[in-house]
Chain length 341, copies 4
């Protein structure tokens, strides 16, 4: 049910006009005349009223505002599916009791470095290897990734360590090659509303890690998940990675309250990326602990054997020994909240 609030100047003629419009859509108008405002409750199956029709109602001159009661997403909603969605990637279940840790460099740079990192994060307890072969960069003059060669290097690291791969897709034209190598396809923050890309990953049968946009509301983020799910792919993992605020002490503001909010609104698993959230390696461990305590189902962490030589995001990457410390520190926190690492 939707609520239409009329301006104080609205006439009986205006009210009849709106009632007629609603009737044309098979809906009934329930009119309440208050002392200061008249309100129209829309009776009927308003889930069939699109956002566009809602905007068109707002365009009527006598309308002050329209309030939507129902959530605009359906498949992603906890109302629609009560039980938690579990996503099984080669035996690693995301959304269950075990907290999954995805670790690796920002970008795949070369075979030697990547394999070395993969072996070290595996030894420390990571359950996935992450790394970008296609890199979205804010400057056209920086390293944009190795492309397919990077995917091959990831595959080799997987062969050696057994860790499944999380890697980013940036362009619908690359979906074939990325889907061939990846175990989880990442949609980056800057592409959260690249709707064509969302539709594309909605049509394949691979888990998708959907990062929150830089200034996306939780509702918009769930609508982006809905985009993917609307095409048939229900294996969506949400990844909080910090939002843009006025604060400059950290790269972004990691919104950990998104974790319990999402746990209420949706059945999809939620992981947290503290590396991008804070942007400085010193803050990654405490925020990883906090993410686990808040109820996250997993972490995604940037690790590099030599951050001073990393081709991207060096300042937020952990050295392997620091990553080892992170794993040790999150273990008792996970147990404290009834989970395990």
């Amino acid at each position: 049910m939707d609520i239409i609030v009329l301006k104080p100047t609205a006439t009986e003629e205006d009210i009849r006009h709106i009632a007629k419009k609603l009737a044309g859509k098979g809906l009934k108008a329930n009119i309440s005349r208050g002392t200061e405002r008249t309100i129209i409750g829309v009776i009927g199956d308003t889930s069939r009223v699109s956002e566009d029709e809602e905007n068109a109602i707002k365009a009527i001159e006598c309308v002050e505002s329209v309030m939507r009661i129902l959530k605009p997403y359906k498949l992603a909603s906890r109302d629609f599916k009560k039980e938690d969605t579990l996503i099984d990637v080669k035996g690693n279940v995301i959304g269950g009791r075990k907290i999954q840790v995805m670790a690796g460099p920002c970008a795949v740079e070369n075979r030697v470095v990547l394999v070395s990192i993969a072996e070290k994060v595996k030894a420390a307890g990571a359950t996935f290897i992450r790394g970008g072969a296609f890199k979205p960069r804010t400057s056209p003059y920086t390293f944009m990734g190795l492309g397919e060669e990077g995917l091959e290097i990831l595959a080799e690291a997987r062969r050696i360590t057994g860790l499944p791969i999380v890697t980013e897709l940036m362009d619908p034209r690359d979906i074939g090659v990325v889907a061939e190598y990846a175990d989880i396809i990442q949609i980056g923050a800057r592409n959260m509303q690249n709707f064509r890309l969302l539709l594309e990953v909605g049509e394949i049968n691979k888990p998708v890690l959907l990062k929150r946009g830089l200034s996306a509301t939780i509702k918009e983020w769930l609508m982006a998940a809905e985009y993917i799910m609307s095409r048939g792919n229900h294996q969506v993992i949400l990844c909080e990675r910090g939002i843009r605020t006025f604060e400059t002490a950290t790269r972004n503001t990691l919104d950990l309250s998104a974790v319990p909010v999402l746990k209420g609104l949706t059945h999809l698993p939620v992981v947290v990326d503290p590396s991008h959230g804070v942007g400085k390696w010193e803050y990654v461990i405490p925020m990883a602990r906090a993410a686990v305590a808040a109820g996250a189902d997993g972490l995604i962490i940037e690790v590099h054997t030599n951050p001073e030589e990393a081709l991207s995001d060096g300042e937020q990457s952990l050295k392997p020994d620091v990553f080892g410390r992170l794993m040790e520190e999150i273990r008792p926190v996970a147990e404290a909240v009834g989970r395990e690492v």
Copy 2:
């Protein structure tokens, strides 16, 4: 020149380590030991130092922060090109004395409606017709545009009215067909950092209207322009359309101060979209006047013959007679600032 600020705990060994790193890049370290901090001034051609190398320096443990002095964009910078860039689209010059007004519906809906709108906005003084054939929508359940059929309808409106077309490109796979019909290719706010799309429009010879991202800084926006220009296409028009803030009384917060700031930083023309900026038709006229007074080179305005039936963005569309009033109201303001409509 860049400035590296060291932590108070930095040792002489640390300083030598950094100096050696810089020397490896052909740069010299100018060390100043203050009472509270040691600072390293980087001497040499730091424009060759990439953002990645800068981040790698931040990753060094003894480094507190790195401050970049030079702007990260070059081709888009007023330092690089002093005189204003003028973009001539079939005789309509954007960036000159005349303020260009681009008007039309959010989405192309059908031939009759579009041609009618085009004729009306032309009669009122618009110099471009705008309308989307490919529409980015936040919900997968809403109208996403007519696709190529929409482009054909735009072309017909152009044949009838003579108005050149501004229309959006969302997907690199559509560049051929969009470039065939469009006179100006629009990159939407949600795609401002869709870097693959930027590279793609950088390789064609068509003006690009680059909307500011929902939460993009002016620097990031100019970096997006630099992306396009770096591939050879220097015909970029910047379009302010409102940024995301905590305020909910308007759809976005139209940042008109971006106009004078950009006029200082870049030679590229700047247009303003008050329709998306405010999101309610009642506020469009005063903000259009303000944009012209602030120094904008053009406006882009949503107009629909029947906003109550519009398939998208009805609440922010002007009826043709209101658009006529807008044109009348901006005319004396344009004259007051030495421009014409």
Copy 3:
């Protein structure tokens, strides 16, 4: 009328519980059972339901959300008083056809400088002198104003030039002395929700210039005006001075769309402070023009004879000749929108 949306799990017992609660406040519950949610429309005089009672309803476990239809402010609302409020300060009417320009230094520094600035801004056409005797400063180690001595200097400048005084009140303990000298009492952005100070100025008979808080919504700003008005002082002037966003190219983001939004919501006059809005003198003139074009009733501008020696806010102060240029440039814009300077 308010709308209470229940969780899908709400029982008939829950509904009866809420209906009983409302009945206790003399209100009736209008229950609508939708397919996905039950909604309770609250019938009766909900203006008597306080924000606290609304929050208490939100605390009920079966309640998903509460939507308020009526605005929380009354005296400040255009619904309550249709015609524009005009504030006459010694013959200078704020809110009428003439745009009032308040100019002067950030802080009163000494007699010679202030009188010189006052004479120059008067010559250029300013109608008020502004200057702080009590200065809110972010650092405890900076100049905090001359106090009463500063007020005396302002009074002398008024004697010499005839310009009425706008000056800031920071502390309820200073109200006596400030009210004695000031013609308009300014409440600064950082004190917009200093509720004790608001109540204090609500009890005197002097116009109050209420600056928008750094991150205040328009609704909160109008509630602050309501605070003042609720104590009897209806002479409130709203002053937009920029809001806090992620953008760092300007000191704040001047929200000019607040001007038309306020013109719709309230009858109070609205002035704009572009100096604090942008924070750099180069951008002040274009934003002053834009403010006038957007419909502002006045401007407040920082002017200093020697910004390089100003004791505060030098970087955003105009030299008198630049201020003269500002006055010349806003004059035709004012005429273009049917106003005068």
Copy 4:
């Protein structure tokens, strides 16, 4: 040392002008001429250069920007005092191994309710009782607290339970009475930059709980602490309570990364208020766990025996049994991070 970046148009005459200005303040100019910009490094004791003088330098026409290297706060800085500040309130040490939990209602309503809440939170393990006698409210039509009577009720609850009191000061005129009753004086978010109030509490010998402003940067927050400390009172406790962002799913965005950032920048203890941070009782427990995991020294939690009847903030108050659960859930998390509750 500060860095002055000149515009490309700066002349030798300009450089001499600045060098002379610096010499007048006892500072030396270290000039570096790069290919694109000239930079002046300021040599000498720049801590004596005030923010105002810095702004005056920015006002010089040839200056593009000024970068400050040193932090503007001194007493609050970890550089100034290495070891953690411990604040002992009647034997409860804030900043030590034990996590202090301050619990109680938003506002003191009456004796019976408050004493009952105090007894219940004590039984659950809280170490302080909180409650407002003077309440800052956004509406002038809501309950503003009992004033001194509320303080007396708090004192009685203290007599009965032994829990020290945390309560808010809003107005410098109330400092005598509040200081008489309170064990910790709270400065609310809306008063974080009420500079007169800060100076006032700086002159007494009582711990101050300084809440972060709604849109305050960490730097501004530490400057507010510096204000208090500059007057002699070094017992400042910082309280993160959420910042204002575009997200509307929570009342504010709780910025937990502020905890590790502050632990690096300052020696002052840091507590977290998840109740105001999220604004809904359902999210309070997970965010309390996360705050402890992030390294907070304490929590401040709203508890009410009957949130549905609370006179303020009912929707974010925990019932005593839920608060008991919170205490049980944070205990193992505290142990996991080497702390105790």
